[in-house]
Amino acid sequence: MTNVGAVQKEKQKGAIARYLERNRATDNNYLLKRDISRIFVGLFTTILLFGLCFLILQPLFHQFSNSIMSRDDLFDPTVMSIPREATLDNYRLAMELMTYWTSLFNTIWVTAFVAVLQIIACTLVAYGFARFDFPLKKFWFACVILTVLVPPQVLRVPLFLNFHFFDMFGLMTLINGEPLMLTNTLSGYLLLSATAMGLRNGLYIFMLRQYFRNMPKELEESAWVDGCGKLRTFVQIMLPDAVPMLVSCFLFAFVWQWTDGFFNSMFLRGYNVMSVQMAALGDTFNFHYIRQIAAITGTHGAAPPIALMEAMISTGVLLGIIPVIIIYLFAQRFFVESIGQSGIKM
């Protein structure tokens, strides 16, 4: 053993000596200086990046530790982040109040359905803008940008009115005898999605257009010369090459649709989608608590203490976003790849 150790030591010594010798051969200790500065830069980068990671993750850690605390721990000022007795009570209650499993199931299929529709529509539109010349092209593209630019707060009331009494230029009254009510129906939002008017669809159109624009034109030209129609060229030649970009646009659409409060509360309230449930959890818990206290005292209830409320909301947020975070972690590597290929430029 000692023999082996000695040999290794000898070898190491040899390595260091050789390194120093190589260093001496360079001007001005160049090698040593370079390697030391490399080590320092590496150390600095690591500390900085992992520190910033902690900064981003810290609220999640805080929410997690809040969510597994029992009531005693929540009220105990000596308990900061690690609970004395971990419990899943908060999760049980939050799941009950959010009707978790039904809303999870509903949210998954509704969101996926809507996101697929949006991406199909956006891809078609983006391809049209990328490859064809037609009159008023600039005008229509400006309209695309406009849909991204105008904040939804401005359109909240007019949009609601428009969909609550949906009557496209009197067409619906003509057919139906009365305007259609599209708010609070899935079909209303499906219509919006199929016509590329959903959440941030202008952005997806922009990204996909850049992607298609950067693809070589020769591909389509040769397909066209061989007698391939426009639609077939699009489906068989262009789409397969655009898969990474389509996947990342789909992921953006899925994730943002999942957390969105604007369209979800206008159209999909009836489906108990996750974002609506998450946003309402504070008030739901409030009523639940007041009712519980009232049942005990027999007279009147009391609002829940802030610590409890915070723990409940933390639990709800975690429950609500864990599914998307899991999907996202697996899929995020597509993002860099595909956006890199699109070469987004203006």
């Binding site: 590496g42 993750l57 590329a196 976003i321 890199g340 430029k345």
Partner: protein
């Protein structure tokens, strides 16, 4: 009989055919825009110039054209609006450059090879989820916490930031004479680092993607010629990435301005949803929107002149 192919050419030219297929492809958008967007947009603009009130019995609105009264009120009567708008625009003036620098810096770091890169990248993209939709400000978004949140914010606003101690120390060093505007600005940004990190998810992604399109052989050639990392950054990376800077600036400005917890946006929301002043709320939003569009146009004009296109 003449064969059909020998007939004089009739029908559509190539360009016309192209135009028709182009319109067929963008048809979904055209229909959607006309059916769902154009009318609400028109109504929002009309609201800004009218007095609008709810008629609950018929669940419709009453309209009265008032011309520029709403806009006049916003600038001359309302004490809060102009101030909020100026504050918001000033905040943008320092937040957007900070986001730009931060995301470029992080993207350059994330582009290097190191252990745990996949994990770090995933974490830096997390704000795409965490800072979106209902998750923004969800902690205070209920009737109970809404009441106390202002109090909590006031307490936190007192020099409890990361740099509060440094600021006090520096002030003591120079004998309590204040530390100069530049340092205040830097310290302010350091205090805002969490907001900046949360606002830079997509921007880091765009820069990272841009960095990966740069041909590595350019760097190779430069380092053989003896260029240092610093020179590499300013002479290769920065010019090559400059088209992305334009995209990032435009995206950041829009994202910052229309975020739901912005002061002006909150004002619009309060006017529209809580006080029922639909006309006035709409007018505020329109004024703000015009201001943002002007800033965007200006930034776009300036930056697009400085952008370097490799190809």
């Amino acid at each position: 009989m003449v064969k059909p192919s020998a007939k004089p050419k009739r029908g559509l030219t190539m360009a016309n055919k192209n135009a028709i297929s182009g319109y067929i492809f963008i048809l979904p958008f055209v229909i959607g825009f006309i059916a769902f967007m154009a009318y609400p947009l028109y109504q929002a603009i009309r609201m800004a110039f009218s007095r609008v009130w709810l008629i609950p019995a018929e669940s419709t609105f009453g309209w009265e054209w008032t011309g520029l009264a709403n806009i006049e009120r916003a600038f001359t009567v309302d004490a809060d609006f102009t101030e909020a708008m100026v504050v918001e625009i000033l905040a943008m003036v320092y937040m957007v450059p900070a986001i730009l620098v931060f995301s470029l810096f992080i993207a350059v770091l994330l582009n290097r090879k190191f252990a745990g890169r996949g994990f770090v990248r995933a974490v830096f993209f997390l704000p795409v989820i965490l800072a979106s939709g209902v998750l923004v400000g969800i902690e205070t978004n209920n009737s109970l916490l809404d009441a106390v949140s202002q109090q909590i914010q006031d307490q936190n606003a007192m020099r409890a930031g990361i740099t509060g101690v440094i600021e006090t120390m520096m002030e003591n060093l120079v004998g309590g004479a204040g530390i100069g505007e530049f340092f205040e600005y830097v310290l302010e940004i350091i205090n805002q680092i969490y907001s900046i990190a949360m606002a830079s998810g997509i921007q880091i992604l765009i820069f990272l993607a841009g960095l990966q399109t740069i041909n590595p052989s350019i760097y190779e050639a430069a380092s053989i010629e003896g260029a240092t990392g610093w020179e590499n950054f300013w002479k290769i990376t920065f010019p090559m990435i400059s088209p992305m800077i334009l995209v990032v600036v435009v995206y950041s400005i829009i994202d910052f301005m229309v975020r739901t917890d912005g002061e002006v946006m909150e004002m619009v929301y309060v006017q529209m949803s809580q006080m029922g002043n639909f006309g006035y709320g709409s007018a505020l939003a329109m004024i703000f929107f015009v201001a943002v569009a002007a800033i965007l146009g200006l930034c776009g004009l300036i930056i697009s002149r400085l952008v370097f296109y490799y190809d």
